[in-house]
């Protein structure tokens, strides 16, 4: 019997597989097609203080082994997420919920996190300082050590739940940002968000995406994500949720060997809605193949 359990700041996950925010809605679409209680946890769609329509369409472009999105934080606003989406999810899902929060100013992050902190059904708060698709917000807070630390500090002052800060890979030195948020009190770090990218429709001579640029994700980014998880896990004491290009059970184990305690699956959910379930089902055989009895034994085993 293989042991897939991991522990994220006291929150027990049956397995390390977590659908990444923005690639699983609020969980209900997939609950219609399989039992989502097989998941380790769910990171729900990024939430802001006010409802947002998001960016104009087209929002999606395809790449070799990946894709670019510029959704722009479409969500019904924190109050609706708390009043409607989380209770609906709770009706069909008993496992941990990670609330992903974004903002356009420190006060907005504080307000959203403060509200999420009071929701019993939320186990972990994931603070997104890395959305590349909105102006004057999101990634602006994740590309400077001072701003990332300030968001973390202010949010931690109003929360009692574990706070994971989700970092952007679009920085010169990921380790300095990670250390800054750890020093500011982050209980954990999620990385990576998407890489800023672009495609051009050469026949029409214009960007494929209406907002011109967007976040690049999918299998192609896996080595970049793995490298950053490795660097941050070795530089910080807090647990890391690894994210970026994960598509197989083998990828999950590789991320964990690099230092991830849990592993998020993002873009793969868009091409295969059953991806998380299939990965979880494949994990025991892959552990057997590699001589692993307990997944928590391999976290950060590669130095």
């Amino acid at each position: 019997m293989k042991n897939l359990e991991v522990n994220l700041c006291g929150v027990k996950l049956d397995n390390p597989v977590v659908p990444a925010s923005g690639t699983f809605g609020f969980g209900l679409e997939m609950a219609d097609v399989y039992d989502i209680n097989v998941l380790g946890a769910i990171s729900i769609k990024g939430t802001t203080r006010d409802p947002r329509f998001g960016n104009p369409t087209p929002r999606i472009a395809e790449c070799e082994a990946g894709m670019i999105n510029s959704v722009g934080l479409q969500n019904p606003g924190v109050d609706a997420v708390i009043a409607e989406e989380i209770p609906e999810l709770r009706k069909v899902y008993r496992k941990p919920i990670i609330a992903n929060v974004s903002g356009f100013g420190i006060d907005e992050y504080v307000e959203c996190c403060s509200k999420m902190d009071k929701v019993d059904d939320v186990d972990i708060i994931e603070v997104n300082v890395s959305c590349p698709n909105v102006h004057n917000g999101g990634m602006a807070f994740g590309t400077s050590c001072e701003a990332a630390a300030e968001v973390t500090r202010e949010v931690k002052a109003v929360t009692h739940k574990p706070v994971f800060v989700k970092l952007s890979p679009n920085v010169t030195d990921i380790v300095s940002i990670a250390r800054a948020v750890e020093d500011a009190g982050a209980d954990g770090i999620t990385l990576i968000n998407t890489l800023l990218g672009m495609r051009i429709d050469t026949a029409r001579r214009r960007p494929v995406i209406a907002n011109k640029m967007g976040g690049f994700s999918g299998r192609a980014v896996f080595p970049v994500a793995l490298r950053m998880v490795y660097q941050v896990a070795n530089a910080c004491q807090v647990p890391v949720m690894g994210c970026g290009g994960v598509a197989t059970a083998s990828d999950v184990i590789e991320m964990m060997m690099a230092g991830a305690t849990a592993v998020q699956v993002g873009a793969e959910n868009l091409r295969n809605p059953f991806a998380c379930k299939e990965i979880i089902e494949a994990l025991p055989a892959e552990m057997e193949r590699l001589g692993i009895d307990s997944l928590s034994d391999i976290i950060g085993i590669v130095k």
């Binding site: 923005g22 087209p58 929002r59 395809e62 999105n69 479409q74 091409r271 809605p273």
Partner: protein, 242 residues
């Protein structure tokens, strides 16, 4: 929604750039107007294609070769298998009370109207049909709709077949008390002020997942932001903001 492995029974060009693929083994179509999402070797995202017909487990897709993915589909041969997500989208609502609906299609948008016509006939409702194209060589499904015994008007922009002009030029020729339509956005925008009844429109948008989880294909409606893939692709004229 199901993930099914479907076998290609046939794959043939109907007119220039428009192909018909028949796939066997599909048990998952609830309504006309739904679509399937096809995984292709070497392509990261699936290709959403509307259901043209479905009978005895055989799914018929009419698709236009517009990019690398559809070009790859056109090269596939009978006997090959495809990984397909089926039963996607809300489909047309056939519960509406109407005696004489008109089905209005533009270009490849005529495809989903065929199964719709068959299902309406099965309910005892006999629709009329308007099919719009740029030119005579693009005309598809005219014979198939006529074989169902339906009055079928064709319009072409250059006048090389049927009525010269757009689908809106054919509207005054028919009496109707409801409409169902699918076609490019400029056609839908022209149609909305021209129709004299209520009706349903099937929208097209570049999609990420096709299952409602990524918010990639959102459109504005009077009821707020809606996902074309999950809340649509069919919306009523009353709710949609064109």
């Amino acid at each position: 929604m199901k993930k099914q492995t479907l076998k290609i029974e046939s794959n043939r060009m109907v007119v220039d750039k428009v192909w018909e693929m028949k796939l066997s083994g599909c048990d998952d179509v609830q309504k006309p107007g739904q679509f399937v999402n096809i995984a292709l070797e070497g392509k990261f995202l699936r290709r959403p294609i509307s259901v043209n017909d479905w009978k005895d487990g055989v799914l018929t897709l009419l698709y236009k070769v517009v990019g690398r993915g559809t070009a790859q589909m056109a090269e596939m041969k009978a006997g090959e298998c495809l990984d397909v997500l089926t039963g996607l989208g809300n489909g047309f609502d056939l519960s509406v009370n109407c005696a004489k609906p008109v089905l209005i299609g533009g270009g490849i948008g005529v495809a989903p109207l065929y199964l719709l016509a068959k299902e309406l006939l099965a309910k005892g409702v006999k629709p009329s049909v308007i099919l719009g194209f740029n030119t005579a060589s693009e005309v598809i499904l005219k014979d198939e709709f006529e074989a169902l015994g339906l009055q079928t008007l064709v319009t072409t922009v250059d006048g090389s077949c049927g009525i010269k002009g757009f689908v809106t030029n054919a509207l005054p020729e028919l009496e109707y008390d409801y409409f169902y339509t699918c076609g490019p956005m400029p056609m839908l925008r022209a149609l909305a002020p021209a129709v004299t009844s209520k009706g349903q429109l099937s929208l097209e948008e570049r999609m990420g997942c096709g299952t409602g989880i990524c918010m990639g294909c959102t459109c504005k409606t009077l009821l707020g932001a809606k996902r074309v893939c999950k809340d649509g692709p069919v919306f009523t004229l009353d709710e949609i903001a064109l």
